[in-house]
């Protein structure tokens, strides 16, 4: 019996020691190899091969999620191409986070499919070597250091623990690696989230509101990083409600409102498709006469100083009509809507549904 007990005790200790050995082995790897000295190193500029590019396409098809009769996401379909930054825009509650979580197999769709390279996330072999995700800035144990948080992900995914230090340097958190998450600023938390997403050097990056809480320098850093990654041929899908940021970052836009697709296309085409929303500033001493000749479809809104905004007719139509009627025009300016205005127009009235 003593022997049996001794075997149990020693066996247990040996097993625990063996389970912990993973850490020491990779500690060694770190000191042998990629130690400090990485900060400031330029990102690799090599491009991903075309074959891998096709694995990076995101296809969302008829995606629907119902919560107790409310459709958070409603028959949503769009594609995200590799090598580009795609902005996933919508007001709060538009279903962006739910969509991204369905893409990552965290939320089960009521209907429809979401695939990456034609494969559901759950069916990917070694998913975090293919897809990196930044979901929530607050997603780490408060008592755990940033390095330990990343090492746990490495350990779970079969990535050497030394990779944690590489990505910490990459996102500029090398100095804070051994501080607990509790002491991280919101910006640092976002950087840690990005670091976790980059652990597997993935072809596809999915980021949910990554710019939240970043200072202007942090936002520029994030923009440069995502642009560089896209230039390498990676797929970047980044959700945001910050329109100004998207205008500077995105190649393509997917705009959702109330769970439905509001617009999709290149940044320019989405803005172009809504130029009808544009208005024309007219300055004339004969505003009433001009309004009368323009006809019923146009709306004239006085802007003071003898000027007025006209919608429903473009500058050419207004100029022609003015000439025919002999109306003097002092100023005629086409004002295109900015992204913000387009966004508000596309999502108007839908934000309050939930």
């Amino acid at each position: 019996m003593v022997v049996l007990l001794a075997v149990v005790v020693i066996g247990g200790l040996v097993w625990l020691a063996r389970l912990n050995r993973g850490g020491t082995r990779t500690d060694r790897a770190r000191t042998d190899g990629a130690g400090p000295g990485l900060p400031g190193r330029p990102l690799g500029g090599r491009r991903v091969s075309p074959a891998l590019m096709s694995q990076g396409r995101i296809d969302v098809c008829g995606l629907t999620k119902e919560y107790r009769g409310v459709r958070a996401v409603d028959d949503l379909s769009f594609t995200v191409e590799p090598g580009r930054v795609t902005g996933f825009l919508g007001p709060n509650g538009a279903g962006k986070t739910t969509t991204l979580r369905m893409l990552l197999d965290l939320v089960e769709p009521t209907a429809g499919t979401a695939t990456i390279g034609g494969v559901r996330y759950a069916d990917l072999d070694q998913p975090i070597r293919r897809v990196g995700a930044v979901l929530e800035a607050g997603a780490a144990h408060k008592d755990r250091t940033g390095r330990d948080h990343l090492r746990i992900v490495c350990q779970s995914a079969g990535i050497p623990l030394a990779r944690a230090d590489e990505v910490l340097e990459l996102v500029g958190l090398g100095m804070a690696a051994n501080r607990t998450f509790r002491g991280y600023s919101l910006g640092m938390r976002q950087r840690l989230g990005v670091a976790a997403a980059l652990l597997g050097d993935p072809q596809v990056l999915i980021l949910d509101e990554p710019a939240n809480g970043l200072d202007p320098e942090g936002i520029r850093w994030m923009r440069d990083l995502l642009r560089t990654l896209a230039a390498q041929g990676r797929t970047i899908l980044v959700s945001s409600h910050l329109l100004g940021e998207m205008a500077q970052l995105a190649d393509d836009l997917v705009i959702v409102a109330a769970g439905r697709l509001a617009a999709q296309g290149t940044l320019a085409s989405v803005i172009g498709s809504i130029t009808y929303l544009g208005r024309t500033l007219v300055r004339t001493p004969e505003l009433e006469k001009l309004a009368a000749v323009l006809g019923g479809d146009t709306v004239v809104t006085p802007a003071g100083d003898g000027g007025a905004y006209i919608t429903g007719a473009d500058a050419v139509a207004i100029g022609d009509a003015a000439l025919r009627a002999g109306v003097v025009i002092h100023q005629l300016v086409t004002q295109l809507p900015d992204l913000e205005a387009a966004f508000l127009e596309l999502t108007a009235g839908k934000a309050a549904i939930r």
Binding site: L5, L19, T98, R101, L106, V107, P127, E136, H141
Partner: protein, 299 residues
């Protein structure tokens, strides 16, 4: 694949080991890298030491009854009983499993935290995105909770194994700790620690909320001792014989029935019945936790 950086680490990636082994290691890292696990262990060590001292104090009074507290005849009978072979074995077993009744609470609560801290700290999404196989993740947590329970048992048993012979020697009691009855108690103690660790994990997986799970775990553990009161009252009203053994349906009572060498309470069913109940509850909770974890959305 183009590396973001020329990654030495990723070049050295070796995918040896199954997902399960990797996940169990990761779960150990999770416990090791927060203060909670260490606090629990420290608390457990302090508590075990205290339990040994209190237990030893009680046994000392059994062996050396104080004059005046009991009659002389009673004292003689008590000492004779305590010093009989069975009495001595019971003393040794009791010392070797000191603090079990409260000690398993540490395993239970750590088991709860292994899963609920993921939801409390919003790391569940990270965990499931890293490995989108939820049954495997939960089973790795079961293994981790079981090992944490076993670790508590190991620490408690080592402390007891060092102090018990010293105590027995000081009380002029000579017995072997290697006898079957002592070994049996120590091994059943291990079963109890493992079962409670996994029980906590299953409970946490079902309830998810850390606060609710901790309260529920303590309520279930402490409250189930109340089954004795309930069934005694029922027996007094209905006089059904089975009611006297029925308290075993309380998880904590079942655990006591399993680990106690004699009857844990008058008319207690045999030890294996307790084992069936506590293990049955544990398996049911884990199964429920797996099913719910697979079905629920991680939001």
């Amino acid at each position: 694949m183009t590396a973001l950086l020329d990654s030495v680490a990723l070049d050295q990636a070796d995918d040896t080991g199954t997902t399960m082994v990797r996940l169990i290691r990761a779960e150990f890292m999770k416990v090791r890298t927060t203060s909670t696990g260490w606090l629990f262990l420290t608390g457990f060590i302090v508590f075990t030491a205290m339990a040994l001292a209190i237990n030893g104090f009680g046994i000392h009074h059994q062996l050396y009854p104080q004059q005046g507290l009991v009659s002389r005849a009673q004292a003689v009978a008590q000492v004779a009983q305590a010093r009989s072979p069975a009495g001595v074995a019971a003393i040794a077993a009791s010392m070797m499993t000191s603090g079990q009744r409260v000690g398993v609470l540490f395993a239970l609560l750590l088991g709860v935290l292994v899963v609920t801290s993921e939801f409390a700290n919003q790391t569940a999404a990270v965990t499931f995105v890293t490995v989108p196989r939820r049954t495997t993740v939960i089973m790795a947590k079961v293994a981790a909770a079981a090992c944490c329970g076993a670790l508590f048992w190991l620490v408690g048993t080592v402390i007891a194994a060092v102090s018990t012979p010293l105590f027995l020697y000081s009380q002029h009691v000579s017995t072997s700790l290697a006898g079957w009855s002592v070994s049996r108690s120590v091994l059943l103690n291990l079963v109890a620690f493992v079962a409670w660790g996994v029980f906590g994990l299953g409970l946490g997986a079902v309830l998810r909320s850390q606060l609710v799970s901790v309260i529920a775990a303590i309520a279930v553990y402490v409250g189930s001792f109340g089954t004795e009161l309930v069934f005694t009252a029922l027996y007094n009203s209905f006089h059904q014989g089975w009611m006297l053994g029925a308290p075993v349906i309380g998880p904590a009572v079942a655990s006591e029935v399993m680990t106690t060498s004699g009857p844990a309470f008058p008319y207690a069913p045999p030890g294996w019945v307790g084992g069936v109940f506590i293990i049955g509850y544990t398996v049911t909770l884990v199964a429920g936790g797996v099913v719910l974890t697979k079905r629920r959305d991680v939001i």
